[in-house]
């Protein structure tokens, strides 16, 4: 399928000499939810800002819906909605006016029915005539989302959408993002909350010091990089691992009451059956079995540490 966003060799060096992006390549498929994960200052916001036209790239190119973001900026930008990280709002405007303004700014004819639906979906309808300065932080965040969606974009960028918002809004936001995806909108979000990426994303890109060090399907990523552990609760404590099982690299824990076997989540699981058979053969009895899998967070911490 043709990518909705195609980034190639994108670089950015700021005037001060700071290199924020180093030859980033990335393709995003229509209708997917892509999470860009990375520590602060890694280049997430710079990447988004270039695609949206707020920052000029120093190298490489970006196409949105097949339109170059520089040569054909009108067509490219018409497809994009941006929810910035900062709560930058026109304090003295009413909610309705500011959303209607955004729609006009992006060249769309008036459509009160659509704006009404948008405000209702975002639980903003009752606040439509209020000035933005009277709203809470969470409500302002909703207003920014409404503004970004006012012109019915095909691609939505959310820069740290849930930074500093309460649980309720976070849930609402996740629900809204899924609904948008169901209507075919591509969503690209940056976050440093791993659970958010784990919960939402189809694919995950990890960015560190301006480099996209990894792009992977979320499930594949967890399977590939995730370590799994098989833990056996023994019937009776063992003093040491039987010599016949040495090749498995087993580890005794909890004063010999637990036996742990660490294995690669992506590998064939055939040796698990062999291990269990050999354990029985060696006369080791066990009461219970459980497996654990490392979360995206463990993977992320490992990745970022590894490259540091």
């Amino acid at each position: 399928m043709q990518s909705i966003i195609s980034i190639s060799g994108l670089s950015k060096t700021y005037d001060g000499g700071f290199q924020a992006l180093k030859r980033v390549d990335l393709d995003v498929a229509p209708g997917e939810i892509f999470a860009l994960l990375g520590p602060n200052g890694a280049g997430k916001t710079t990447l988004i800002s270039i695609v949206c036209g707020l920052v000029k790239a120093t190298g490489g190119s970006v196409q949105v819906g097949g339109h170059d973001i520089v040569a054909d900026y009108r067509a490219a930008r018409s497809l994009i909605g941006l929810v910035p990280q900062e709560l930058s709002t026109d304090r003295f405007e009413s909610v309705w006016d500011t959303v209607a303004f955004s729609r006009g700014l992006f060249g769309k004819p008036k459509n009160p029915a659509y704006v009404e639906k948008l405000l209702r979906d975002l639980s903003l309808w009752s606040k439509k005539d209020e000035r933005i300065l009277a709203l809470s932080g969470g409500m302002k965040r909703r207003v920014l989302i409404a503004k970004a969606l006012a012109h019915e974009p095909r691609v939505l960028f959310l820069d740290e959408p849930t930074a500093g918002v309460d649980v309720e809004l976070r849930r609402d936001m996740w629900r809204l993002i899924r609904e948008l995806r169901d209507t075919g909108v591509t969503v690209i979000l940056t976050t440093h909350y791993i659970d958010e990426a784990e919960e939402m994303a189809d694919r995950i890109g990890v960015i560190r010091a301006g480099e996209l060090i990894l792009v992977e399907e979320k499930t594949a990523l967890i399977a590939k990089l995730g370590r799994k552990e098989l833990i056996l609760q023994l019937g009776a404590p063992l003093a040491e691992v039987p010599a016949s099982l040495a090749r498995y690299g087993l580890e005794l824990r909890r004063e010999g009451c637990e036996l742990a076997y660490v294995y690669d989540g992506a590998r064939e699981h055939a040796d698990l059956a062999a291990l269990l058979t050999e354990l029985t053969a060696a006369g080791v009895a066990f009461k219970d079995i459980r497996t654990t899998q490392s979360s995206l967070e463990d993977i992320f911490v490992d990745l970022v540490k590894e490259r540091a």
Binding site: G53, L54, V55, A75, R77, S88, K108
Partner: protein
């Protein structure tokens, strides 16, 4: 197909800016009218009655074009510079920069709104002045031309200041330290022909002299410098502003990293 002109965006920004003026109607309209009325009361009615006619024009009538010019210049600069500076300050500029609008459209919208406001204020001041002193406009077409030209030129200038400014103080500095003195010394309240030859020559380096003189000519048919020179100087300044704005958008100066 994406249209090649985004008129809806121009309309949206223009409307937004005009709505801002209506919200702050006290600062936008009433205060310039009050301050100008004070000038008329003091200079026109109180002092003016003791002054002799200048070039056969009563003093009250003589100062009207200069006073309108003073408001037109300061209001155009204030409106346009604040209009673009505030979104930069508040961070809302992100939306303008990420929208499918050209630089020309952004300038037309902001400068158009700023010029509209200052023209309205100029006309209100003119109407206020007619209450204090008899007014005749000998060359109405030229009067309107000067009004529009000055409003747009100085709104462009204000836009440049709004992009350049890094704080609210810088926003005030040019109107306060440059424009107001130049206007007072630019023949708003006297004819530069009344000055000693040396100071008259110095005055000719003051661009506001040409604006006030030309504008006054459209009212009374009397001017310090030839009307053609006045028009040419205004056009030169307009051109300079356009070149500066072109450069701002080409380089992304203070707008895009």
């Amino acid at each position: 197909m994406t249209p090649s002109v985004n008129l809806r965006a121009v309309g949206a920004i223009y409307k937004f800016e005009m709505a801002r003026a209506l919200r702050t109607i006290m600062q936008s309209v009433i205060s310039p009218v009050i301050s100008t009325s004070l000038y008329f009361v003091v200079f026109g009615a109180a002092i003016g009655q003791r002054m002799q006619e200048i070039d056969g024009v009563p003093y009250g009538t003589f100062i009207v074009p200069g006073l309108v010019m003073l408001s037109l210049l300061t209001q155009s600069i204030a409106n346009a510079s604040f209009g673009i500076y505030f979104p930069r300050f508040a961070g809302t500029i992100y939306e303008i920069l990420s929208a499918p609008v050209s630089y020309l459209e952004i300038v037309v919208a902001y400068v158009g709104a700023a010029a509209t406001k200052s023209i309205v204020i100029g006309l209100i001041i003119l109407a206020t002045a007619s209450l204090f002193t008899p007014l005749t406009i000998e060359h109405p077409v030229l009067m309107v031309t000067f009004l529009l030209l000055t409003a747009f030129t100085f709104s462009l200038f204000g836009f440049i200041i709004g992009v350049w400014a890094d704080g609210f103080e810088q926003l005030q500095i040019i109107p306060l330290l440059v424009i107001t003195p130049l206007t007072f010394l630019g023949g708003s309240f006297y004819s530069i022909d009344m000055l000693p030859p040396f100071w008259r020559a110095v005055s000719l380096f003051n661009p506001v002299v040409y604006l006030v003189s030309g504008f006054r000519w459209s009212f009374t048919g009397k001017a310090d410098v030839h009307i053609g020179v006045s028009l040419a100087m205004t056009m030169v300044f307009l051109l300079a502003c356009l070149v500066a704005i072109r450069w701002i958008f080409k380089t992304g100066y203070r707008l895009k990293a």
